[in-house]
């Protein structure tokens, strides 16, 4: 059962559920926090509309810096502006920032512990026709491994808006992962969101269940639908939305392991180093249970429609469903 305390979209499982790109929430959130906090500045590497930073640029042209196609400079300039008391938000495609400029992010931003918010758009294979060069499926791994960094992967545009606004208050380097394609609207403005807290979208906190599903980002909707399908087959599932991948909500992950005894992780990312790895690190240290990992299995992406690619790389609903059954079978 949907957890009513989460106040999710009542039309969640309707055929005509609203769909909005996650990146739109970043654009809206940045505009709002820009209005509230004069220290907020925006920097972009020649992808201002695509990353939705144009809303901020149009409203605050004097607090926007166009960097051109130069992501390494993007990171360094932002670090310098942070040193002068600004709160810089930088945006590009995830493949280029934090991809191309990883070392600059590590040294000039994280090693200096400068508050810079890095918005990486077009993450995941669902970027589609552009092909593998533009499909960032390693970005969670390379950001969460850096000390001082917070990593957030919102599940819809509403959560992305909240994360963008909340990031201004962290005082820390923060990575926000965004997707390009339209994504079903899962949450509402009333859904609780706190950086570092995972939310139980399906099942009650004290429930025991046959399987726990933990998902992040654009695949949360598909994974949540699988929880519903499983319940129709009398398989009881709980579902945890892990939008903050670092610091991960240890309490909720351990609770999922204890109450379900088996977990499936779901992410549009390599299975190495992403959400599945983060969950596994917590579970194996605290309450070991079997885990199945849904994600890209050590491959590069290619051109195609988002659905074709998600199916091809084993991230479709049928794959999640099968993984749930498999992991239940692995319980001792």
């Amino acid at each position: 059962m949907i957890n009513q305390s989460q106040k999710l979209n009542p039309k969640l499982f309707d055929k005509k559920v609203d769909e909005v790109p996650i990146r739109k929430g970043f654009g809206q959130g940045l505009l709002e926090i820009g209005e509230k906090n004069p220290k907020v500045v925006g920097l972009c590497a020649d992808l201002t509309e695509s990353t939705q930073m144009h809303l901020f640029r149009n409203k605050f042209p004097n607090r926007f810096v166009e960097i051109g196609v130069a992501e390494q400079n993007l990171a360094g300039v932002a670090s310098g502006m942070s040193a002068m008391g600004k709160i810089p938000y930088i945006s590009s495609y995830a493949m280029f920032s934090p991809g191309r400029n990883w070392e600059q992010i590590r040294t000039t931003i994280c090693y200096n512990d400068r508050q810079v918010i890095i918005a990486g758009s077009h993450a995941g294979v669902s970027v589609g026709p552009d092909g593998g060069t533009h499909q960032a499926i390693e970005d969670i791994a390379i950001t969460r491994v850096i000390p001082n960094m917070i990593v957030i992967s919102p599940c819809d545009h509403i959560e992305a808006r909240k994360a963008t606004i909340a990031a201004a208050e962290t005082g820390k380097p923060t990575y926000i992962r965004l997707a390009r394609e339209k994504t079903p609207v899962i949450t509402t403005n009333e859904t609780p969101f706190v950086i570092g807290k995972a939310q139980l979208f399906y099942g009650e906190q004290s429930d025991r269940a046959d399987v726990g599903i933990a998902a992040t980002g654009a695949l949360v909707y598909k994974a949540l639908k699988v929880a519903e399908q499983l319940s129709k087959e009398n398989i009881k599932a709980k579902f945890l939305n892990i939008s903050t991948i670092k610091p991960i909500d240890i309490e909720q992950v351990v609770s999922l392991a204890k109450t379900c005894g088996a977990i499936v992780t779901v992410e549009e990312h390599q299975i190495h180093g992403g959400l599945g790895s983060a969950v596994s690190e917590v579970v194996t240290q605290n309450f070991p249970v079997p885990i199945e990992f849904i994600g890209v299995q050590d491959k590069f992406g290619q051109s195609g429609t988002p659905d074709e690619l998600l199916e091809h790389y084993g991230m479709g609903e049928s794959h999640i469903f099968a993984a749930a059954k498999k992991v239940i079978g692995r319980k001792s």
């Binding site: 300039v77 670090s79 002068m84 512990d113």
Partner: protein, 299 residues
């Protein structure tokens, strides 16, 4: 700021540069590793900056109105630490903790350990971007009325890094008259002489074509350093660069102009060099007997 150095002031700077150099040798010997040539070559410029040019207060390192000095080539930090200590930021005795476990003086600058640093550095090519970001932020807040300057110190070898040129494009577009870049043109990098490893000449033309105001000076001539900075400060409508020709290893006879000393401390076994146990003694003797009268080959 007056750019005219009196003879007394020059004498004072010479003494400071000598102290800075002696400390560099002492700290490198104590550390047993680190870079020698660059720090020695930049001692005159650091002395002129910290004891004549910079608006700063060693007792209030977080003073908001201070000029910012961003060291991009972090590996020459012995000269930064030595100069800061002699300027009163922290005790000179602490220099001997360089590179040791628990020290504030990390092998390459790290703000977490020494928060009075403007930035951490070591990986090359990133300092100018940060200086540009600082200068842009200052312009956003204060317009052209701000009297703060942002000095970015870079090596010539690090200009191999493409990011430096990305930052230059932006500095020029933003017309950052508050940005003054000083390039340590010592012609060496780890693998050899810069013009053999990756030619940079005609370097002044490159900067000019990136719309920088360019000064070329002898980096051991205090008067030339001060005058070049003064002229750079007077350029309001764009960034400036001072290409400072320096002698790597300046002041230590067996190190001068020899790229092999780029990344090694005194006490390193090296063919054609003095015995390793005598290197420190010779280096300190060289520096002390010159009595601070370190003169440039260009004079």
């Amino acid at each position: 700021m007056s750019i005219n150095l009196t003879d007394e002031k020059i004498k004072f700077l010479e003494e400071k540069a000598k102290d800075i150099r002696i400390s560099i040798i002492e700290m490198l010997v104590a550390a047993g590793s680190g870079h020698s040539a660059g720090p020695l070559g930049m001692a005159d410029i650091f002395a002129t900056l910290y004891f004549f040019i910079l608006r700063h207060d060693p007792k209030k390192p977080d003073w908001e109105g201070r000029d910012r000095l961003i060291l991009s080539n972090g590996h020459i930090n012995p000269v930064l630490y030595s100069t800061m200590a002699h300027a009163g930021y922290f005790p000179v005795a602490e220099l001997l903790t360089l590179r040791k476990f628990g020290t504030r003086l990390q092998g390459h600058p790290h703000r977490e350990y020494l928060p009075m640093l403007e930035t951490s550095s070591g990986p090359l090519g990133s300092g100018l971007s940060q200086a540009v970001g600082m200068a842009i932020a200052d312009r956003m807040d204060h317009g052209k009325t701000s009297d703060r300057f942002f000095y970015c110190l870079m090596s010539d070898g690090e200009l191999d890094e493409g990011q430096s040129w990305e930052a230059m494009l932006l500095a020029a577009r933003e017309k950052l008259g508050n940005l003054i870049v000083i390039v340590d043109r010592n012609n060496i990098q780890i693998d050899g002489n810069t013009e053999d490893v990756m030619p940079l000449e005609k370097l002044s033309h490159k900067f000019e074509s990136f719309n920088f105001h360019v000064e070329e000076i002898d980096g051991h001539d205090y008067r030339a350093i001060a005058e070049a900075v003064g002229r750079a400060q007077a350029v309001f409508d764009g960034p400036s660069v001072i290409i400072a020709r320096t002698i790597p290893g300046k002041g230590v006879s067996f190190m001068e102009r020899d790229y092999k000393w780029h990344g090694s401390p005194p006490g390193t076994e090296m063919a054609g060099e003095p015995p390793k146990d005598e290197q420190a003694k010779i280096a300190l003797h060289d520096l002390r007997t010159l009595g601070g009268q370190i003169t440039s080959e260009h004079e």
